[in-house]
Structures are given as C-alpha cells and as structure tokens.
C-alpha cells in the first residue's frame, strides 16, 4: 500500500476501534444505578434490593 493510504486507513481504523472499545468498557465498568433501574436481569440480585 502507498504511505498516505496506509496512514489514513490505520489512523481511522485505530481511532474508531479504540473509541468503540473505550466506550464499551466504560459501560461495562460503570456500576448500575440503584433499583428500580431500567433493566430486568439484575432485579433479583440480593444486594440490589431496595432496603425498607
């Protein structure tokens, strides 16, 4: 490949892949909000139950 094409391609692909991974990791690593939240799957987890 010629240099300019290689620079544009790698620069773009690394930027886009990097940002995709960064934001997805932020989602995975952010603790969920207290119940009741928007999501059903974690509703039964004992530590997420609303204290009376």
């Amino acid at each position: 490949m010629n240099t300019s094409a290689l620079v544009v391609m790698l620069g773009t692909m690394l930027l886009v892949t990097g940002l995709m991974i960064y934001f997805f990791m932020r989602v995975l690593n952010t603790p969920p909000k207290p119940e009741p939240d928007s999501y059903l799957d974690n509703d039964d987890e004992p530590e997420r139950q609303v204290k009376p």
Binding site: M1, N2, S4, A5, L6, V8, M9, T12, M13, V16, T17, L19, M20, F23, F24, R26, V27, L28, T30, P32, K33, P36, D37, S38, Y39, L40, D41, N42
Partner: protein, 550 residues
C-alpha cells in the same frame, strides 16, 4: 391505562439492540461505494466530521427525547414529541416516526429475505459452477420471480413471507425476550463473520485463486486520500447522507428503544457506545470486504463500472462468484458468512422498525404485544408485496427514496428544531446530561443548537435542488440546472419522462409507461399510509381527551 409494561433485560442488551438498529446492510454495501465515489480516503474526513457534529448530536437528541417521552408512558414519536410542546400539530410531525418504519420495513424485509435465500443458496452450492454473468443472471431472475433454482414455486415470495414471519414472531416475544435476545446473538456473530471476511479481504494475493491483484490495490483505491475532493459540497453532502443512513436517525426507532429507559439511567454513554459500535462495523469491517475482494479479482476498472449500480449489485451479483474462486468449501463458508452477516445486520434493524408501531398500539389502544406485532407483520406484508411483485417497475426504489431517504432528513430537521429551539436547549441539555455516566462536552450545547440544525437544513436544501452533476460552482455562478436526482426533479419524474420522450422501441415505451404508472401509484400508496397513521393519531388524541389523560 397503557398495556405497555416492557423493559430491557440489561444495559449491554440495550446497547447491542441499539447498535443492531443502526448497523444495517448499508454498512457493508453503501459505505464502501460512497467512499469510492467521493474521494477515497478523503471521504473519511467529512464523514467523521459529520459524525461528530451531526451524528452524535442526533443520537443524543433522539435518546433523550425517547427517555423524556417514556417518562409520560409514550413509546412512539407522535406522542413523544407531543409532550415536548403544547402545539397540537407536533404529534402529526411525529407520524413520520411510525410511517417511515412501516414503509422502510416493507422493502427492507424483502431485501433481508434475499440474504436469507442467498445463505441457503451459498450452502447448497448454487453459485459453485456459475461464472460472473451466471451469478448476475441468477439475481436478475430471482427478483423478477422467474424460475426457482431449488424448485420452490415463487421463491422470492416464500422467502419474503418467511422473513416476515420470523420478524413478527421475534417482535411478539417482547423487548427483552425477543429483540434483545436476537441482538445479543446477532451482533457478536456479525462481528465474527465480518472479521473473517475482512481477513480474507486483507490477504488477497495476486495469482492465487485467479486474483489479478493484491489486496493492497483495492485498499489503496479506497484509502488513498484525494484532498481536492474535500472542497466539494457534493462530497460533504454524501458524507452527511451516509451518517444519516448508517445511524438510523430520523426514523423514530431510537426514540422508541430509549423510551424504555428510566429517567435516572444514563443515555449519554449508551448513545456513544452504540454509535461507535456502528462506526466500527462500518469503517473497519465494511471497508475491508466488498472493495478489496472485488478489486482483487476484477480489477479497478471493472469495479468502478460495477459501483455505478450501487452496493447491491456488487454484494449480490458479484461477491458470490468471487467467493467460489476460493474453492467449493471455502466459497460456501464465505457465502454463508457474508449473507449471514447481512442477514443479522438486516434483522436487527427490521426488528427496530416494528417497535414504534407496536408501542403506539399498546400505549394508545391498549393492544397486547402479540396482536400488535402480528398487525405489523400483516401491514408490512400488504405494503411490501408491491415491492416484490413490481420490483422491475421501480416500486422498491421509490419506497427507498421517499421513506428511506427523504423522510429521514425531514423528520431529523423537525426534531432538532423542536429539541433545540422549541423545547429549549437548556431543558434539552438537562435531559441529555441527566443520569449521564460520562461528562458530555459543553460545546455540544452549542453544536446541537446551531451547527446540527444548519447542517441538516443544508442537507435537505442540497438534496432538494441538487445542481446537475453536483456542480455547485457552476450553480452558484448562476447556471443552476437541477440534477435528475434532486427531490424536485424526482417529484416531476423528469428522468423517466425524458427516457420516454427519447424511446423509439414500443417494448421500451411500454415498460417506461408501466414504470411511470407504478412509480406514481407507489407515491399515492405511501401518502395514503401516512394519512391513515395521522388519522389514527387523531383518534388516539380524541380518546385521550375523552379519558381525561390530556
């Protein structure tokens, strides 16, 4: 009381469903063709700029509008926008958010059914012994509902109905158990299939399996920047247009999905995550398959000729032939993966198109999920049959142009004005940042208020009065002749009428006259559907007044 008590299963599921909504066939078929036609590597600069100043703002606008409407129990755009301002007319603008989805689903499900059929034909080895013309002829015969290779009578209709049944059944299972589950399976598989094909795209070697050039030739062709093109409004218009189609904004699906998010939960990070996931699939995977493989085996000149037919031509008429250059087994596997990834890209989008209608019926008329889903399937079947039966008369393209192209820009323009200027940017900003898990850059407050609406206005006006050949310099110099692709000339059927005036062969004249009839009939049908939905919105409004809900 609304019958709508649905929720998402998990945050990752919501993001995958939202990314699946955005990722469509255009990521693999439209983006590389647009890039090739608009300056190669230099296209990416306007493309990314448009993503930053138009795509991301629109995502945040739609996510926050959806979540805001959801707070009042609304899950479709007519009543979501109705909550944002007291003027009663806004809800009729919101009709776009249901109409677009029904109209697009009607032809999109047909397109999706091709991918399902081609998965089966790839595995059955249908393309194994065919040359390139044979594969192209297979496609032409398929869409003209010619003889079936597998002995299935009316094969395209059978696959269309099958595809619709599958969509409807999944929709009837609900958000978490239907749509989200498909996204959780489909998106990872799509990325795996895409990664395999991208690897093949990067490793084409001259002289091996009949390749006439290395991958580098195709990648150079796609990525070598032509910076002169950066100053062309046509390139910027194409980049802005691509951002629209790729993110599925201006449709009402993002609003609908986001309306099931509670007001304390994040939308800012979710929107960024889903948006960049779509960009990854488009820019990284989408650019590494179609063009490098096609150029490797066919050469630049032939591919330049083929891209004039658009990505569909390359994807369906050429790639199946090229895959079988790798041998029967790898050809079948690659065909399965290519059409499989297109199918997953398609179904995650078509499922999203069903949810606003279902949400509307549940909210306004207390329908249960299942009958609402089946009513969507029935409407799409009725509205989609003309695209199947009269494909050669341009019905498919007509749906795509008005519902899948023009209406997206119109609705996005209206919703941006509503959000930033009518609802108010201060309230809008609070909606975007409320519960946010990331710091939203403050500059976006001004981008959303000024830059995004102006850009959208420019895209709309640019499409309305596109000058001939996209020559803006000549147009601004005073010689403004409209291009046949401009909205005004499209409405007037200028291109068809010119072809009709120039035709001498009676068969061609008859074909063009029939096309003109079907084109106009399609438009009348689409307008009738829009008016019918608007009438339903009116009935729902009256019902709300009677019940004291307004």
């Amino acid at each position: 009381m609304s019958a709508n008590k649905e929720s998402w299963g998990s945050r990752v599921g919501l993001i995958l469903a939202m990314a699946g909504n955005a990722v469509g066939l255009g990521n693999f078929l439209r983006f590389p063709v647009q890039a090739v036609q608009n300056g190669g590597g230099a296209f990416i600069i306007p493309y990314l700029v448009c993503f930053l100043v138009m795509g991301i703002p629109l995502l945040w606008i739609e996510w926050s509008m959806g979540r805001f409407g959801g707070k009042f129990g609304h899950h479709s755009t007519p009543f979501i926008v109705d909550t944002m301002h007291k003027n009663r007319l806004w809800k009729y603008i919101g009709v776009f958010g249901i109409w677009t989805n029904i109209a697009v689903a009607s032809y999109y499900c047909y397109l999706e059914s091709w991918t399902l059929s081609y998965v089966m034909h790839s595995l059955a080895g249908t393309f194994s012994g065919l040359d390139q013309d044979g594969v192209a002829a297979f496609f032409n015969e398929y869409v003209s509902i010619g003889k079936s290779t597998l002995g299935i009578p009316f094969e395209p209709i059978v696959f269309f109905v099958l595809c619709l049944l599958l969509n409807t059944w999944i929709l009837s299972q609900g958000l978490a158990k239907g749509v989200e589950r498909v996204a959780k399976i489909g998106m990872p598989l799509l990325i795996v299939f895409g990664a395999f094909l991208a690897y093949k795209g990067f490793t084409v070697e001259q002289g091996v399996d009949g390749a006439i050039s290395d991958s580098a030739t195709g990648l150079n062709f796609l990525w070598t920047p032509n910076f002169d093109e950066l100053w062309s409004p046509t390139v910027w218009l194409a980049a802005a247009g691509q951002i629209f189609f790729t993110l599925s904004v201006g449709m009402g699906t993002v609003h609908c999905y986001a309306s099931y998010v509670r007001s304390k939960d994040d939308i800012a990070l979710n929107a960024m995550s889903a948006g960049w996931m779509n960009e990854f699939v488009e820019v990284v995977l989408g650019s590494s398959i179609l063009i490098p493989i096609s150029i490797g085996y066919l050469g630049i000149d032939r591919v330049v000729e083929l891209v004039q037919m658009g990505g569909l031509g390359l994807g369906f008429k050429t790639l199946p032939y090229l895959f079988f250059q790798w041998g029967d087994v790898l050809g079948a596997v690659a065909g399965f993966m290519w059409f499989g990834l297109l199918f997953f890209a398609g179904i995650t989008s078509s499922l999203a198109m069903g949810t606003p209608w279902i949400g509307f019926l549940q909210d306004e008329f207390n329908w249960r999920r299942k009958p609402a889903a089946w009513s969507f399937g029935l409407i799409v079947l009725i509205l989609g049959m003309p695209t199947v039966l009269f494909f050669k008369y341009g019905v498919f393209d007509e749906y795509d142009y008005w519902a899948g192209t023009v209406s997206l820009v119109v609705f996005a323009l209206f919703e941006t004005i509503l959000f930033a200027w009518v609802f108010g940017m201060n309230k809008g900003w609070r909606e975007i940042t409320s519960g946010a898990d990331i710091q939203v850059p403050y500059i976006y407050k001004y981008i959303i208020k000024f830059v995004t609406p102006l850009l959208l206005l420019w895209v709309f006006v640019g499409s309305l009065v596109t000058p001939k050949g996209g020559d803006w310099a000549k147009a601004f110099a005073g010689d403004w002749v409209l291009d046949d692709s401009s909205i005004i000339n499209k409405i007037k059927n200028v291109s068809l009428k010119r072809q009709l005036a120039e035709a001498t062969d009676p068969a061609v004249i008859q074909q063009l006259q029939d096309t003109l009839f079907f084109v106009n009939a399609s438009r009348i049908l689409l307008v009738a559907v829009f008016l019918s939905i608007a009438a339903l919105v009116y009935v729902a409004y009256k019902k709300r007044v009677r019940e004291g809900r307004i």
